[in-house]
């Protein structure tokens, strides 16, 4: 699926929730699910320091696609990371670079991506895009 299609699918899923509590319960479920990153990458040099919750990111190229894994020590942050990974991972670097994150607003989680929110997610997205830029440069 393209990034666009995945985003639409997620927006669709979230439209079934009636209130914030259901949305958060779903994200917490996502957050509790399996580790999103291999233990060996949960190290200092993979860490993105948000003020409060820690976020780890790892990227590698598989064929012509970039594969992201990430994690956080806060469950809600991790739930959002799971959504972002679903959108951005296994995509061509150029598509990652071009992708917007407006769908986050549509699913009612905008406040988590505010640049002043101390959860590390904004830096994480920046980092995902930077990885994509680097891989794209290798391809060119």
């Amino acid at each position: 699926m393209t990034i666009q299609e995945i985003q639409e699918e997620i927006v669709d899923e979230f439209s079934m929730f009636e209130d914030w509590m259901q949305r958060y319960e779903y994200m917490i479920e996502l957050g509790k699910s399996l580790p999103l990153i291999d233990g060996q990458y949960k190290t200092e040099d993979h860490i993105i320091k948000g003020c409060q919750s820690k976020v780890w990111v790892h990227a590698e190229m598989k064929d012509d696609k970039v594969v992201f894994t990430a994690d956080s020590d806060a469950i809600i942050t991790k739930g959002i990371i799971a959504i972002l990974i679903r959108v951005f991972s296994n995509q061509k670097p150029q598509d990652v670079i071009n992708a917007s994150t407006d769908f986050i607003d549509e699913i009612g989680l905008k406040e988590h991506l505010s640049p002043t929110r101390a959860n590390g997610l904004v830096s994480m997205i920046k980092q995902l895009k930077l990885y994509a830029v680097a891989y794209q440069a290798q391809l060119n």
Binding site: Y24, E25, I28, C51, Q52, S53, I76
Partner: protein
């Protein structure tokens, strides 16, 4: 359990709440429950009015104009200084230095002490400090070769006084400690700290940022050398506060910043500095902020600090009791003497997650390390959820907090 009625007799919280327009706000569709008072307090209409009055009626630069507005503004600003002096029972009006807040005040002193310290000297700081307040002393040590030593704390969040006495020596030149810890609410035994430091000839700076909203301190009686306050934690505006310093110290300290207001005569060869307090008040100050700080003190004194602290004690006792009834909830900071702060975690749930859910329910708390990383390291936790109560909070709000924490726990565990 606390008898809510006897408390209500001294302080009518329903009347008080009408003074705070922001308390009518909705957040995420819910009535705001503001429990982040240790970060900044809310502002009563009386203080908002003072701010509006200043800009509507007599906004002018101070201490320099011949015109009436400037005179009015100067008078109001100096009246505020006098109110602050009287409130803290400071000996002389010029011992009150207006600053942008506690951080500025601490840096002013740390910068000045560069001239008094040499290698081998020691500065003692408590383990309970706001970490941004440790940095000025680290920088001072780098400049002078002095050594920073830490007064350790117990698991309860109290300073180990016997260790403090052991650390004190003729090498100790300065002791820095907060009056009340922002992360845990511990009220430190500053009388003992000051007295013992003076016996070895050390100066003492007490950070009163957290204390001033709850405790009316008599600074002459305390015999403290320096004391700092931020207005925004006691119903005043942000960006203004004071440094109190004993006259003998303020005369000894060199000016911190150069600029207008702080000079007597300037030629390109030499400048002579103005008298206190102007020597430390370079540039146009936060005039409106200073005046509004005075209004905030008037407001709090009208309610009365005794009634305030008694009421807040009742709030925090009730909150502590109710929160502890939640399985798996642990409170950090259980000092015998503490202000209306409850810092807690539930099992290994990340404080950020709890704070996020509480926010959704309209409850404002602080989560994280509260700028007190060393304390969090001591407990080996990433942070805590901190609810801090003020005299305008209610028992019903405590109930809402407790319900919301239970809800968050059930969602997150």
């Amino acid at each position: 359990m606390t008898n809510k009625n006897t408390i209500a007799a001294k302080l009518d919280v329903d009347v008080i709440r009408k003074d705070f327009p922001i308390l009518k706000r909705k957040v995420n569709g819910q009535s705001l429950v503001y429990l982040d008072n240790a970060a900044t307090s809310q502002t009563p209409q009386q203080v908002i009015d003072a701010i509006v009055d200043y800009y509507q009626n007599y906004n002018a630069n101070i201490h320099r104009g011949v015109h009436s507005l400037s005179q009015e503004a100067t008078d109001a600003y100096e009246t505020a200084r006098e109110k602050i002096r009287a409130h803290f029972n400071i000996g002389k009006r010029h011992e009150v230095i207006f600053t942008s807040g506690t951080t500025h005040a601490i840096n002013l002193v740390a910068s000045g002490f560069t001239h008094f310290l040499k290698e081998g000297d020691e500065i003692l700081v408590s383990a309970l400090e706001h970490h941004s307040n440790i940095v000025p002393w680290q920088m001072l040590c780098e400049r002078t070769g002095a050594k920073l030593r830490v007064i350790p704390m117990t698991m309860n969040g109290e300073l180990k006084m016997e260790e403090y006495h052991r650390l004190l020596s003729e090498r100790t030149k300065l002791v820095f400690c907060n009056h009340v810890s922002n992360a845990l609410g511990t009220i430190n035994p500053i009388e003992g700290i000051i007295g013992a430091a003076h016996k070895v000839g050390a100066a003492v700076l007490i950070d009163g940022a957290q204390a001033a909203a709850h405790i009316k301190s008599d600074l002459q009686k305390l015999d403290v050398d320096f004391y700092t306050v931020s207005a925004h934690k006691m119903c005043g505006p942000t960006g203004v506060g004071i440094l109190y310093g004993k006259e003998k110290w303020l005369n000894k300290l060199p000016p911190y910043q150069g600029g207008g207001e702080m000079i007597a005569e300037v030629t390109f060869e030499k400048t002579t500095y103005a008298n206190l307090p102007h020597k430390f008040e370079a540039g146009t100050p936060n005039i409106c902020g200073g005046i509004a700080f005075g209004a905030a003190l008037d407001y709090m004194n009208t309610i009365g600090f005794e009634a305030i602290s008694e009421y807040e004690d009742a709030l925090v006792d009730y909150a502590t009791e109710q929160l502890l009834a939640i399985d798996g909830l642990k409170i950090y900071g259980t000092a015998k003497h503490k202000t209306s702060v409850v810092s807690f975690n539930i099992e290994d749930i990340h404080p950020y997650d709890i704070g996020t859910i509480l926010d959704k329910m309209g409850i404002a708390v602080r989560t994280g390390h509260h700028c007190a990383q060393p304390i969090m390291d001591f407990y080996q936790i990433p942070g805590t959820v901190r609810a801090s109560f003020s005299f305008y909070n209610t028992m019903e709000e405590v109930d809402k907090l407790v319900e919301a924490v239970k809800k968050a726990k059930s969602m997150l565990l």
